[in-house]
Amino acid sequence: MTKQTQKTASVSRQMLRRGAVLAAVFGVGAFAVLLARLYKLQITDHTFYENLAISQQLREAPGTAARGRIYDRNGNVLAVSATVDNVYLSPAEIEANGEDRELIARGLSEILGLDYDELYEKTGRKGSWYVTAARKIEADKAAEIRRFKTENHISGVRLEPDTRRYYPNGRLACHLLGFVGTDNYGLEGIEARYDDALSGTAGRSLRATNAYGGEMLLRRYEEYRPGEDGQDLFTTIDASIQYYVEKHLRQAVLDYDALNGAGAIAMDVNTGAILAMASLGDYDPNHFLAVSPEAQIAVDAAATKEEAAALLAQAQARQWRNKALSDTYEPGSTFKIITLAMALEEGKTGLGDSFYCGGSTTVQGRTNPIRCWKSGGHGSQTLTQAVQHSCNVAFVNIGQRVGAERFYDYCEAFGFLKLSDDPDANLTARTGIDLSGESGSIWWSRNTFCSKKNLSQLAAASFGQTFTITPLQLVTAVSACVNGGRLMEPYVVQRLVEPDGSVSFEHEPKLVRRVISESTSRKVREILEQVVGDPNDGTGRNAAVPGYRIGGKTGTSEKVSLEARTGQKEYIVSFIGVAPADDPKIALLVFLDTPSDKSGVYVSGGQMAAPVVGRMLADILPYLGVEPTGSDNGGAVMPACTGLDLPQAAEKLKEAGLRYRTIGGGSAVTDQLPAAGTVLAEGTEVILYFDAEISPDLESLPELTGLNYEQARDTLSYYGLYLTTRSSVTDPARQTVGAQSFPAGTELRHGSVVEVTLIDSDEELLGRY
């Protein structure tokens, strides 16, 4: 302004002022704002952002801890894990590298048998680095994928190791074992309960990666946190016993058309170890989501998707349910063992006692009289006979002698309920077995049960009604009754073994309490043996196994609540056997839920469940090495005769209760039919060979049904075939063959044993006991 002569004007004061303002704003103010903002982000919120950044930069490779194996008590593998691969796609890399999506989708769909369109869609997911294509594929498929990747230079398809659980025995013990989900967590059974021990701790490898999952150049960071393999688990289960139990139980469900399946428990009475536990319907834990063909048909027929999903979930829940552990039921007459034991222990009854049954008895507080299953009554009977007959009237009497208060105390002692300070509490109890999903019993409160005005609860409880318990509770309590009086805590896991072989856990049999004395227990055993062993009076005689001493008790319980709801009568029939009766090793309970009377067999524990227990024990006892004791159950054991001369052999056979014929003309027995140790019907004619050979010809099996027992026996021995039965032989002349193990016309080798089922024509003994 001042020097107008200059063409280039000097800077005005206003300009300088305004420049100073801008210098302050741009040179100081703006930077103050930025520094404050950076302070907030880098200092105040540093940890927040750092954690987020690290979590996206570090990739955690899945752990490699091997899941422990599950073994049976003899070291047979029940569950084992193997390494498999998961296949995943990295669409971001596919896009970045310009890889051919169609080629990838086609290749994978061919190798894995997956839908092409779905795979193609997955390869195009924008911005994703991890899309699962297939889970748990086997090694050969994984190798094919690796080859496919190499041949086509594909990096957007990746494999990551995973493990898969295999159950080599399929359905065997499925409810005990449970199964493992896709994420390798145990979901049911032992797999769930012992998941921590079995799974170990997975090792983790942390790796810093670039945004596409590749290496970070120069900034390589890898950390391996070693894991620990899972522990091996040895169960108390015996795979062979489990197999026998399941085989016969499955057959029983088919034979008797048991609508709601069945269950069975075999327990070592002295330790509480579970030797077998089965539940039907079952499933294959290798494919635990697959349901039975019938259920699948129902699912497929569903009208809507939701309905189908609901039906499927329902069918799965039903097949996964361990009935032996999770169902509760009224035990019915099997509970009389408990009533008997407490009455004997209290000295309220004895072997010399006698009871009169007129067919019914009245109880204070109850309008209708309690009826015995035999409408005419059992008349006068000893204590043993009362148990043999499963006489309700006698047991109401026995229960009343014990008294409600003591009865209640014993039920607690046997583990059916847990006493509480509150006399009005409805009580429950569990055995405490080391399995998940155990249900609890449902009992009356003490005040209700012990009401002086109303004795009906006590009366009904004496023969096992008006309360519910689990099958496992009954087996545990009955084991205590026969093992000398010790209530043991049941268990299925014997030991856990670390990967290095050291034992980290060993189960010691756990005595809960002593309930009854040794001498009482002996009396109970003697009486129970008569229930099975007496071919005339014993309601459990169908459980008899020739050559073995077996005790047991039948049970037939009506589903009361169901009848109240629908008016429909449904039953749970059961039988609990103990063997050998003189020195019990095993208690075996079988229950069939809602069998059908259309099978032709009368719906009762004695007719349906007892034969099943008999068949199981016939397999189990020889397996356990229990020596057969001879003929007192109508069976004869073939002795070894080879090498003997005729008089010696004849003497032996006579002792065994067998007849013989000879073939050949030598001086010593060179061979025999059948083999030594075969259990035969008494009076069977066996063949001794003297310098002769057993004919290699096959014999065609004749038709046996309709023949009586003796006729069948003799017909077979004519052909060089032999008869055995697990039905109890009460009257060889009147019992007829109802079924034979091979159909008529089957070609059999000489010496083969044919098993028959006898039809009981003794109407007197049919009854719901």
Partner: protein
């Protein structure tokens, strides 16, 4: 080696002023320090992307971006030194031809420009690309300075103080809208406002202009469809952190990870393809991650010192044109630095503004260094006391 600026500018010189043999030392040293830091950071930030080469650009050569940036930095320093030798009068004389050239280039962009990410902002010549909008910034500074000098005393009037300037800005912004190029429009409007403010336009115009700018932004948000979605991802980037908010969220991770002292030079983890544009618009985030708050603050202080030194030079200019050009270049630098750092720290909505001396981009760096060279040229006219 002495130039007679008055003679070269074709103007009579009353004081027979002689230019100093050396330019302003502090300004040059600060520039060089920042350039050195910038080129190093390009190396550090860019090598992972260059190595992995997800976009099939570099052929896996880790030094690809660095070498190019280094070449342009050296060319830029040469351009700066040459610019520092050119007398200020020459800039004034060539201001309008330069503006005309810029407008022609801007008009060419929509016709033959290189398209990328939905916008056409670049002109390609051989292997080089040039954003004419970078030239436009300098053109505005030079032409406005020249006009202010020509209309001195009349700047308070509408006819001289507003209309010619508004005309130039309108033409440039109109052409940028065609590209479209939102961030360049903002910067050019801002630098235009700075020039008018320094030039003596009455303050109430600015009040009006701010109102108009507010309305303009509202219009722009509807004009530029991508702009409004950026507003949303600015307000809450985490709500959409995998898509719209991805870039800014990654930038916050990057900056926040640095903490007080950083992961060390070269130690960034976010540059491994997590942070997009890590060697470009978001290079300052990597600076924060590697050098921490201390290092980032140091870099910002260097910028602040450079800017303050620029104003110091401006205040010592004897001549109005030089004052305006130096003030303009310094302000442009400050505006770009502020907006870039404000964007990467999510202080303002995300838009593509490069950081002078740091962001990868050859021709832009060349032009920036040339502009600083003009400041150095002006510094040579400061009389020795």
């Amino acid at each position: 080696m002495r130039y007679d600026s008055a003679r070269l500018a074709g103007l009579p010189d009353a004081e027979t002023d002689a230019r100093r043999p050396v330019f302003d030392g502090p300004f040059f040293v600060l520039s060089m320090l920042l350039l050195l830091a910038g080129v190093l950071m390009v190396l550090s930030a860019s090598y992972p992307r260059a190595w992995y080469d997800p976009g099939h650009v570099t052929g896996g050569n880790a030094a690809y971006y660095f070498v190019r940036q280094l070449v342009f930095a050296l060319l830029g320093v040469a351009a700066m030194l040459i610019a520092s030798r050119v007398p200020m009068g020459l800039y004034r004389r060539w201001a309008f031809p330069f503006l005309a050239l810029t407008l022609v280039l801007l008009m060419l962009v929509p016709l033959v420009g290189v398209k990328a990410n939905g916008s056409r902002r670049w002109l390609g010549v051989g292997g080089l690309t040039l954003q004419p909008s970078e030239l436009a910034k300098l053109a505005v500074i030079l032409s406005f300075s020249a006009l202010v000098c020509r209309y001195r005393g009349k700047m308070r009037s509408i006819r001289y103080g507003i209309l010619p300037f508004a005309g130039i800005l309108g033409a440039i912004i109109g052409l940028l809208v065609l590209e479209p190029h939102f961030s360049a429009s903002v910067i050019i409007l801002a630098i235009g406002a700075v020039m008018l403010f320094l030039g003596g336009v009455r303050l109430f115009w600015f009040a009006g202009a701010f109102g108009a700018a507010g309305a303009g932004i509202a219009v722009l948000l509807t004009f530029f469809p991508y702009a409004s979605s950026r507003i949303n991802s600015w307000r809450d980037p985490f709500s959409d952190s995998s898509d719209q908010g991805y870039q800014i969220v990654q930038s916050l991770y990057t900056i926040g990870s640095g903490g007080l002292s950083g992961l060390g030079l070269g130690g960034s983890r976010q540059k491994f393809l997590y942070l997009p544009e890590e060697h470009n618009d978001f290079i300052f985030s990597i600076v924060c991650e590697e050098l921490g708050y201390i290092g980032a603050a140091l870099i910002l202080c260097l910028f602040a010192l450079l800017i303050l030194r620029g104003w110091w030079i401006a205040f010592h200019c004897r001549d109005r044109f030089s004052f305006l050009v130096v003030g303009g270049v310094t302000s442009l630098l400050a505006i770009q630095v502020f907006l870039n750092v404000a964007v990467v720290t999510n202080l303002v909505p995300c838009t593509g503004i490069s950081l002078p001396m740091f962001s990868y981009g050859g021709t832009a760096l060349l032009i920036q260094l040339f502009e600083l060279g003009i400041v150095l040229s002006a510094s040579r006219d400061i009389p020795v006391h």
